[in-house]
Symmetry: D2
Subunit: 304 residues, 4 copies
């Protein structure tokens, strides 16, 4: 039996214990506790404030699911992409697979997590921070957007769901998504990680969905099973022009071929179809949600 | 904090704890320990040998996923259906939704679990055991099939994966699936629950898949996320004639309408599409599996 | 690995898990949840509100430690003894070993725990409830004492430490101990179980000690290691006349012989010496305690 | 709830979890995994191979109990003391309190634990490694003794109980204790930490006791409650001349005064009396033990 364990208390009555067989790094930034551990089952992991953020054995699922639908379906020939969060560098890695990306701007508030990831997570970033197209800013994503006139073709939110009191709270509101939209090109796409769609814990996802529907004309929930998160995981794709559900398996596979995107392990046409097809009870839960997250009435990830 | 917890050791380094707030029943049959508990999160649960078999809050996902693809796509006008296992009565409940089912034969080795389920799980069976079409046998499914000349249109395996030494071991082999096939009508369908498709724990599923491919011409893996199982869950659909992947969302929805199947919470055309679309890494893991389970070299659910 | 576990959260950061291999009884009284379980390590246990009260494998330690110093050193030739709490019947069993006991009055508020103990804990009571000297009252101990004029030679408090809101709170105060004293014969002895003397969790014990010192002239803490409680356990011996620390090993052994007390497993002269000798840091912690528990400022067992 | 926990599996059905709020050091020597952590409850701890060795909040109990009975009762005017193990330096610290100690030789096999302790556990050693009387050898204690002709007045075994395959196995046998005795002065004393005396886990202690009885004329078990070990802890005092049980409280207190031993928190005359008084069932379990540990039939600490 492992001597050390990390516990993820997903609910007062649902606790998952992961055996830890090595601690590579342990430290603290002004924003959070940071650890790089080796889980006996999932391999090397980035842990922030005691929650596994991504693991060696399945980060490909999360990062391919987050990046490829948006990057593939955005029609711009020369793309500017903004990543909010994403310190590990793996979202950046997936974005840079596209030759049409001219500029990949990454804005993360916590320079310390970026520094630690650069050193301890080489399999995640694979040199992405050194790519000439990469521009890294250590800043609050909302302040960054409020100060710039730049427009982007794709904006990706790779941020942890906000806990009460966290500065991330204002990155998950109607007002913020309106700012995001102002910085998107006309046929631009916004995509975000959006918590679990476990039907007993879906509130965060469904409120984000209803909030984005007030801002964008076409909004689609999609999901993928990322084992180290212990739950099925979800994303939201939002734009005014493009509906990812309308694309067939063949169209997705052809686009991947045309754009010379090789080496993916998780994503392709069939995976795309799977992700954007939701089971009936999940669709119903999402559609009936009426709450909207506003700056003065934000949403926290844990409600129990 | 709950005082009592049930632990599911999914791997020596991955342990999930579920808080228990009530024990309704605790006993023992010749085959297994039986408990009816109330999980603080998932409600009432049937627990066999310390493993949650199904929970009040999500049994609809598992049972609809197991039953409907096969029942809906089987072309027989008047159906005979065989359920192996399924003591809770919920698989039976879903089968009996089809008016074309003339006879629903259920064979479970453990009469004690059936008795306890009848008393403590009314929301599961909803009176299905009293339906005139139901025939219940307390028997070993393999012996039952070896002794009968009956043919069925659909055969459903709702059996726990076998542990070493369990009598269920010989219900998961090439020889047994050959016997199953002999008892299927020409266009009959066999469907089974087949463990998790978690990519690090997929061996049981993939060996069952390769074993069935030696017996049936058309074999398809499919999956659904059943939260109380802590992992994504899987099924296999096997027949000589019918490929469930060829049916479109519209065809599935039309079939449900034609057959007047109402009141489903999980399954419909979009759910069907989702279940039979697998992510790329899972397809690759399944296809490259070469092991076959034989009577003299069977498979156990836990390999660690 | 056991499938079921009972957890004892002794502190937010100190949690002990006991594997459970059988549930004999589970129910609820107006006062508490009651379970009879079989711990894999400690055998059959009485569990109230999720806390192990006593275990088959070590209840002899607790009950002998609680009863014998007081019964042995009390000089009355014909004794009346009052037990407050003690539903399992084991305290009663030890009291009845003394032929000089004429009357053993037991007052427990929870008749349901007594009923369950009678049925499921025969090794505890060993028929003590049927002894002609036993008088059992289902009542609140304080109300019982306030209504009676009876005097006792020994009064034993075998009550769980009070949690906030529990009716037991007023059985651990200066006012209550004053009532107790009024019901003691002149050379009577009061003895109580008094929580752990773990030096980081000693507050309950030390406040009881200082409270009793306001009521009795001679007060002595003593301790014994009861493994199933996970901590060293303590008791307090209070009287106006008798100091148990003054008795030598030989005197204790002679008294046991004179009174024909046979069959003890834990207690004798050397054990007596051990129990009443405290390590230096514990003595200092106890002596410097100044808090007193009053009816209007009572003490709860958990302060974190 | 703490995010990280260290688990101590004391038995397959008895598991204790300690919340960890900081990792100071994590590394590996040729002999063991070494961690310095901060337990939320017990403060800074040295952890070897996942077992807490000593904690800031209660190491004084263990180290005073181990050292003082032997150092105080040994009659030599000028003492040579040998410590086997004891890497934290706290055993050394207690030994050096005696002015009559001319030489304190410490032999620990693992230089890495010593180095880490020097850096991270200053409250333990308090500069003891720099005392001119200290001689530190990084060596196997048995090889060290076999090569030297030196005699010691007191030899202290501060070694973890051996696990199967550990090099410490041969430091807990009849043959080794015979070597120890050859290196003791005529009225010399050997003292060792000897595992728990929890009555269900006493085998290690009792076999060491019966083994030492074959080598020394006077052997006494004694115990102290060290909370972070989760169990009552034990020691054995062995010599040909001195029986620590014969000393009264007053004699112990006078010896402490004569030798000017100040600043102890745990040990004094009353503590001495407590430690050497054992409860009846423990005495019986120890006395009836007949097994002896030999080089070719050694004892491991875990038998389950």
């Amino acid at each position: 039996m492992d001597a050390y364990w990390i516990i993820e208390k997903n609910h007062p009555s649902e606790i998952h214990w992961h055996g830890v067989n090595r601690f590579y790094y342990t430290g603290k930034s002004p924003y959070q506790k940071i650890e790089i551990i080796e889980s006996s089952f999932y391999g090397r992991c980035l842990v922030l404030d005691g929650r596994i953020q991504s693991s060696e054995k399945d980060e490909f699922i999360y990062h391919e699911a987050l990046v490829h639908p948006a990057l593939l379906l955005n029609p711009a020939r020369e793309k500017k992409v903004l990543i909010m969060g994403g310190a590990e560098g793996a979202t950046l890695r997936e974005v840079l697979r596209y030759k049409e990306v001219q500029e990949a701007v990454m804005v993360d508030i916590d320079g310390e997590v970026v520094r630690v990831s650069k050193e301890y997570l080489p399999e995640w970033h694979q040199g992405a921070f050194e790519d000439v197209r990469t521009k890294l800013y250590i800043a609050d994503a909302r302040e960054f957007l409020e100060k710039t006139n730049k427009k982007f073709d794709v904006i990706i939110s790779d941020l942890s769901e906000p806990m009460e009191g966290s500065p991330a709270v204002k990155l998950f509101t109607y007002e913020f998504y309106s700012i995001v939209k102002e910085h998107l090109a006309e046929d631009g796409i916004f995509v975000m990680q959006a918590g679990t769609t476990h039907h007993l814990k879906i509130f965060f996802h469904s409120v984000m969905y209803s909030t984005l529907r007030k801002v964008f004309k076409k909004v689609r929930s999609y999901q993928a099973y990322v084992p180290a998160y212990d739950f099925i995981w979800s994303f939201i794709f939002a734009s005014d022009k493009i509906d990812p559900k309308e694309f067939s398996e063949e169209e997705i596979n052809n686009l991947l071929k045309d754009k010379e995107i090789n080496g993916l392990k998780f994503y392709d046409g069939e995976t795309h179809k799977m992700m954007f097809s939701l089971p009936r009870h999940i669709r119903e839960l999402i559609e009936k949600e009426e709450r909207i997250a506003y700056d003065n009435a934000p949403l926290y990830a844990v409600e129990d």
